[in-house]
């Protein structure tokens, strides 16, 4: 069973979205070259791993394992399968290291492999991300203020919240879910998402917009419940 780490979002007073600590950490440490282009923070380790240094590759695994396991979990919605997808992603990356040309960051390249691996897993499992013809109004997918347990420790509350978010994401078609998870959960920018999914930026924007529209009826009650708990 996966342990849950408490995680909160930060909203600016004017309502604009600020990166949550986790999202900020995802972009932290990205240095800028003298030409203003971001330098891949993994470049040194990637070069060493490509030359045969296994310890360097293990460092890369430890650096990116959390993001990949969580990303796979959001896509395939199964704990065991998420670990398999993440593991297979790293193995494929290791085998293809010499073909990695650095045209994108190593992180983006990993997400590309993970996305394709997750899609294959879903196809192999024979079911789509969208849960059949279930309506978005289905009460089982909404989380009203009354259904949120009160008086429970924070870890369990966040576990409930994460499960509710994942259940809502599961309703989306694959392409919408991948796009919105990469943007809002993983914090990739539109250019990176376009590379990962192999789609134009305009298509990525459209998918994210439509995904959020479909999630509003499922997730907004959750937000209300969280605020209700916070005010107690």
């Amino acid at each position: 069973m996966l342990n849950v780490v408490a995680y909160t979002a930060v909203i600016a007073p004017n309502g604009d979205i600020r990166c949550a600590p986790g999202m900020a950490d995802r972009t932290a440490g990205q240095a800028m070259s003298s030409r203003g282009r971001s330098v891949d923070p993994d470049r040194t380790l990637v070069d060493a791993a490509t030359a045969g240094n296994l310890e360097a590759f293990e460092d890369l695994v430890r650096r990116h394992q959390t993001r990949l396991v969580n990303y796979a979990l959001a896509i395939v919605r199964d704990t065991g399968e998420a670990e398999d997808v993440a593991q297979e992603t790293f193995i494929k990356a290791y085998r293809s290291l010499r073909r990695f040309r650095g045209e994108s960051s190593f992180k983006t390249w990993l997400y590309t492999i993970a996305t394709n691996t997750a899609r294959t897993a879903l196809e192999r499992r024979g079911r789509r991300a969208r849960v059949g013809d279930q309506s978005l109004d289905d009460e089982s997918h909404t989380l009203s203020a009354g259904s949120v347990p009160s008086g429970l420790p924070d870890a369990e509350t966040t576990l409930v919240a994460r499960d509710a978010i994942d259940r809502a994401l599961a309703v989306l078609p694959d392409d919408l879910r991948v796009a919105v998870v990469l943007r809002d959960v993983e914090g990739l920018d539109y250019k990176e998402i376009a590379k990962v999914t192999g789609s134009p930026i305009g298509t990525v924007e459209s998918r994210i917009f439509r995904a959020r529209q479909r999630l509003r009826t499922l997730l907004l009650p959750l937000r209300t419940a969280q605020r209700s708990l916070a005010s107690r």
Partner: protein, 166 residues
């Protein structure tokens, strides 16, 4: 501006990516369209909720299992595989047209040489006889003739009359 056109712009407004000409047009639309205002608010709130999704910890021993499942990379130790280093797929596609052109040029420029057909033995003898008769010379004297072919000379040597070799 219609709501259909405003939709994609709402996303960019949320993230501060509107073009200079798009911002004022969208603001004017939002001043008149409550539905789009609510859509913008919903987009912001859903993104906030998703970004607050709790991070699950990685199962214990995950990195170790990954490393244990890595197979040795084929090729010399520390050296890249020849095909990988050459990125054979890329070069195959890039050089295929060149190879096709070379094949066409080679096929157009190839012509079988007109090698001398081997002569029958009797024809050799006949030619030698004609040669000898035409010059009125004994057979062996052909040895000292510069313009006599090797075949004729060979026949002359092999068939010369021992009584009249020259």
């Amino acid at each position: 501006m219609q709501c259909d056109e405003a939709g994609p712009l709402l996303l960019r407004r949320l993230e501060g990516r509107l073009e200079a000409d798009e911002a004022p047009r969208l603001e004017r639309h939002l001043e008149q369209c409550e539905a789009c205002v609510q859509t913008l608010d919903a987009q912001r709130r859903v993104a906030t909720i998703l970004s607050s999704r709790p991070v699950a910890e990685v199962p214990l021993g995950f990195a170790g299992r990954v490393m244990a499942n890595l197979e040795p990379v084929p090729g010399w130790a520390g050296w890249p595989g020849v095909l990988d280093a050459l990125n054979w797929r890329v070069w195959t596609f890039r050089l295929a047209p060149v190879a096709a052109v070379l094949i066409v040029v080679a096929s157009l420029g190839f012509r079988p040489t007109e090698a001398a057909e081997p002569m029958e033995f009797s024809d050799l003898v006949a030619e030698w006889v004609v040669e000898a008769d035409a010059r009125g010379l004994p057979a062996f004297s052909l040895l000292w003739q510069e313009d006599v072919s090797g075949d004729i000379l060979l026949e002359a040597v092999l068939t010369a009359d021992p009584d009249e070799p020259f």
